[in-house]
């Protein structure tokens, strides 16, 4: 899964300078900057959980390979055709764009939701790193179905890793960000090595003769991604689950428009295609590699269902693999905690960023102690996208459609309101309906965001018609742009 935001750009002085104004031409970045950033960012610690969880969900070879190819293509297109065109036209951050549409208080509420989701995501990343510690200290580690921490050793390992990451994040993560840039090329290749080594282990263990692509595909179908029933407690994943998961796991970033803050630096909107580097390196190669390692573990012992990136990586690549797990978890958890801290600090500006980040890190660390969040990462990632997605629909409608209905765009700014109720309802109602659809068993969490986006878009237009014209007419129509 992905890493939230793009520390390279967000941390730079350039971004700080243009928080409340469009990025000028002189500060635009070339295509290569986006390729490198996305490739590094989407090779995170959580990829080592997601790949194995696909296997636990009983995917077949065709479903996982073709589903990922299609789902990632849809994700890239979402960046390219939904997010980047608005970003390169407005050249504003997501938060400033939202403030213009929704008003300051609604943005604060959005920040709160964002911060909470970041906390749990960072928790999953800390969990990944802590599994590497377990290889050295050999304490009992969580099983696939565990909800609560199952040993003192596990709690202490998570606490130590979480404390370290939180303190570093509280001091600012520029150094870690630089280290992450250095680690990225190495980490991508270690992920690839995981897959190659795992493949050989399968060939040896199964006694298969692999001399052509056809042989390799047969091995994949019959031994690695065999399909069939999922492991107990897991949801069965089909082709459509994989496709939608790959498409929506970064929904907050593309359809949810979080990456407006990134692509406002792009010279052209087609630079959105640069996201394919992250998708096909991190969300294709890395997921498949990690899933091969887990499938091999199950091949050796079908009762050994624990999804533990540390031992998986150690078995394949030794100490280099362990270092990869720690680095992948650490370099991605760190900015996530930092950004969650920033989101919370916007709500309580009087509290120092240092204190807020430490408290945020503590919450993430406590979450990490509960293996439930990491073991249910597939569902959590889908929920994360669902909660933040409607604001993307609001931005899309506000930018492209709202004037066609005779309504005002950037309504909060123009009408000087600090809380746009139309945007609030277009956010909360679709999320509530989608959660109800999911809870009622009508539609699974992995698919529910698609109708949710259309619902949010339609609601924003309909409620704006009433809100802008009847309830809160514009104070000064001359301000219309």
């Amino acid at each position: 899964m992905s890493q939230i935001d793009n520390e390279k750009m967000c941390e730079s002085n350039v971004t700080e300078e243009f928080e409340r104004q469009p990025v000028p031409k002189s500060s635009l970045l070339g295509f290569k900057s986006f390729i490198g950033m996305y490739a590094g960012e989407h090779c995170a610690g959580t990829e080592l959980m997601i790949g194995p969880l696909f296997v636990a969900a009983g995917v077949s070879a065709f479903d996982v390979v073709i589903g990922l190819l299609l789902g990632n293509a849809l994700a890239v297109m979402s960046w390219m055709f939904l997010c980047a065109p608005i970003a390169t036209r407005t050249r504003l951050t997501l938060y400033y764009q939202l403030e213009k549409i929704c008003g300051r208080w609604l943005v604060i509420l959005y920040n709160l939701a964002n911060g909470i989701m970041f906390c749990f995501l960072a928790g999953a990343m800390i969990t990944v790193s802590a599994t590497a510690v377990g290889v050295w200290f050999n304490f009992p580690m969580p099983e696939l179905s565990d909800v609560y921490p199952n040993s003192v050793g596990w709690v202490l390992a998570v606490a130590a890793v979480g404390a370290l990451i939180s303190v570093v994040a509280a001091f600012g993560y520029q150094t870690v960000s630089k280290f992450a840039n250095i680690a990225a090329p190495w980490m991508v290749l270690v992920f690839l090595a995981f897959g190659l080594i795992g493949l050989r282990q399968f060939i040896t263990a199964s006694g298969a003769e692999v001399g052509s692509f056809g042989d390799a595909w047969t091995l994949a179908k019959t031994h690695i991604w065999k399909g069939g029933d999922p492991l107990p407690g897991q949801v069965k994943f089909t082709f459509w689950h994989i496709t939608f998961f790959a498409w929506f796991c970064n929904m907050a970033m593309h359809i949810g428009m979080s990456d407006l803050s990134i692509f406002r630096f792009a010279k052209k909107s087609w630079y959105g295609i640069a996201a394919s580097s992250g998708m096909y390196v991190g969300h294709f190669m890395a997921w498949l590699s990690a899933s091969i390692l887990y499938a091999y573990q199950l091949h050796l012992d079908p009762a050994d269902t624990a999804v533990l990136p540390g031992p998986l990586a150690y078995r394949a690549a030794g100490i280099a693999g362990i270092i990869c797990v720690i680095v992948a978890g650490w370099t991605t958890a760190n900015p996530t905690i930092y950004r969650a801290g920033l989101a919370f600090q916007a709500i309580i500006p009087k509290c120092s960023r240092f204190t807020v980040t430490l408290i945020t890190g503590a919450i993430a660390t406590i979450a990490a102690m509960f293996p439930y969040f990491a073991m249910k990462l597939l569902g959590f990632v889908a929920l994360y996208g669902l909660i933040l997605m409607p604001m993307g629909a609001v931005i899309f409608v506000d930018f492209w459609l709202i004037k066609k209905f005779g309504l005002q765009s950037s309504y909060a700014e123009v009408s000087k309101t600090s809380f746009n109720w139309a945007a609030f309802l277009a956010w909360v109602v679709p999320v509530s309906v989608c959660v109800w659809l999911f809870k009622a068993g009508i539609l699974e969490i992995y698919f529910v965001s698609l109708p949710g986006w259309f619902l949010a878009a339609i609601l924003y237009i309909l409620i704006s018609m009433i809100y802008q014209k009847k309830i809160r007419p514009q104070i000064n129509p001359k301000q219309e742009s």
Partner: protein, 58 residues
């Protein structure tokens, strides 16, 4: 100096990958050897890459 560091670090990435490719091809049978070479390449990368990448990240 920067160019030497750059060349050495790229070589370390090649060395990192070669054993896993050879292992897959069945040309290298010992997984322990693969792991050791990967560890050495890792150390080499993290020693040489910061020499030119750290400043570039500024």
């Amino acid at each position: 100096m920067k160019m030497i560091a750059q060349i050495l670090s790229w070589i370390s990435l090649v060395v990192l990958m070669v054993p896993s490719v050879l292992f897959l091809a069945g040309k290298m049978s010992s997984l322990d050897q693969v792991k050791w070479v990967m560890l050495l390449a890792t150390i080499f990368w993290f020693v040489t890459a910061p020499l030119w990448m750290w400043k570039e990240s500024d």
